[in-house]
Symmetry: C2
């Protein structure tokens, strides 16, 4: 066997592990999926796992690349400068639709990330850091609004985190075959955030 072939086999194993993990994370969640479950589902041995990943968390980070690529792709389709006016219905709707769509399309990974975040030591501050980082774009749009002299209903970081929290937790909790369609969710939250209850 040439080195190239062996390398290809290794890549195949790595891909099989990632695939199996994604499936299992979606079915039973991240925390309830053991490393031996992943290797068994991938048809590999336990020991083989550690040739590719140091632990389960590192595998999750590798999966994370997928969802980030998907998000970047959807965002690259249109330019995304700071100068987005979230008080414009169409622009707010587009932002929520993309965020919700990515979370739902890669639900297994979102579930895994969410569980991993919440299982961490609460005192580590990771949850707030993650939430703040993942809503950085929303925050920048709000900061831009404020720089334009427009009234913003509170601290941009706080508002962005609140909106992100709403989407993330509802997406985590709402079953895939739940009672509401994606459109219902996006429309409801667009209305709620755009005009608020007193619109």
């Amino acid at each position: 066997m040439t080195p190239g072939v062996r390398k290809a086999k290794a890549a195949q194993t790595r891909a099989a592990l990632l695939d199996a993990a994604r499936t299992l994370f979606g079915e039973r969640g991240y925390l309830n999926t053991k490393i031996t479950d992943i290797t068994a589902a991938a048809g590999r041995s336990t020991g083989s796992f550690y040739e590719h990943f140091a632990d389960k968390e590192e595998l999750l980070r590798a999966l994370l690349g997928d969802i980030e690529d998907a998000a970047d792709e959807r965002l690259a389709a249109r330019e995304h400068p700071r100068e987005h006016d979230l008080t414009d219905r169409a622009q707010l709707h587009a932002h929520l639709e993309i965020a919700w769509g990515v979370m739902r399309q890669h639900r297994a990974i979102q579930v895994a990330m969410f569980q991993s975040m919440v299982a961490d030591d609460p005192a580590s501050g990771r949850a707030w850091r993650d939430l703040s980082e993942q809503t950085g774009m929303l925050r920048e749009h709000l900061e831009w609004l404020r720089e334009q002299g427009r009234a913003v209903p509170g601290e941009p970081e706080l508002l962005a985190a609140g909106m992100g929290a709403m989407l993330a937790l509802v997406s985590y909790a709402l079953p895939p075959d739940g009672p509401y369609t994606d459109e219902q969710v996006v429309d409801a939250f667009t209305n709620l955030l755009l005009k608020g209850l007193a619109g």
Copy 2:
């Protein structure tokens, strides 16, 4: 020793376990706190734990009574019929302030409940059930609004869950000594939800 005294000692042990658990849940979270950690912190033996609780989850349910009592108490101060107009700034603010205050004052228990909920099998549907139940009051207020012929920006259950998700996850993530005061948070979310971004 009379039976009465022995009973009192038992109650003391039970209380010590609950106290120790609450402290540890606040420090390291629910998932990272082992039963032996609780008994050690309470100055009792491992075996003694099972005389009072079947497992860690049952202890959490016992702690849950505390937070529910606190919420009921704050709500009993004023009547809380369905006929609350959440499009009125003062009433919305009051609701958010109470919910946020209870979560922050009993942060250890909220952290524990949140971790317990998220650690469960995602396919169990528990997360959505919990979220929906805990926001039942908001939902009823919205349903009442709708019955009055007022426009509501989406399905009441969905909107209520979204608002609850925002509060719950931000409260979980935001450190107790974080960069924002309780007032800032409540005001920001009141503004956001009352008038929305386009207020």
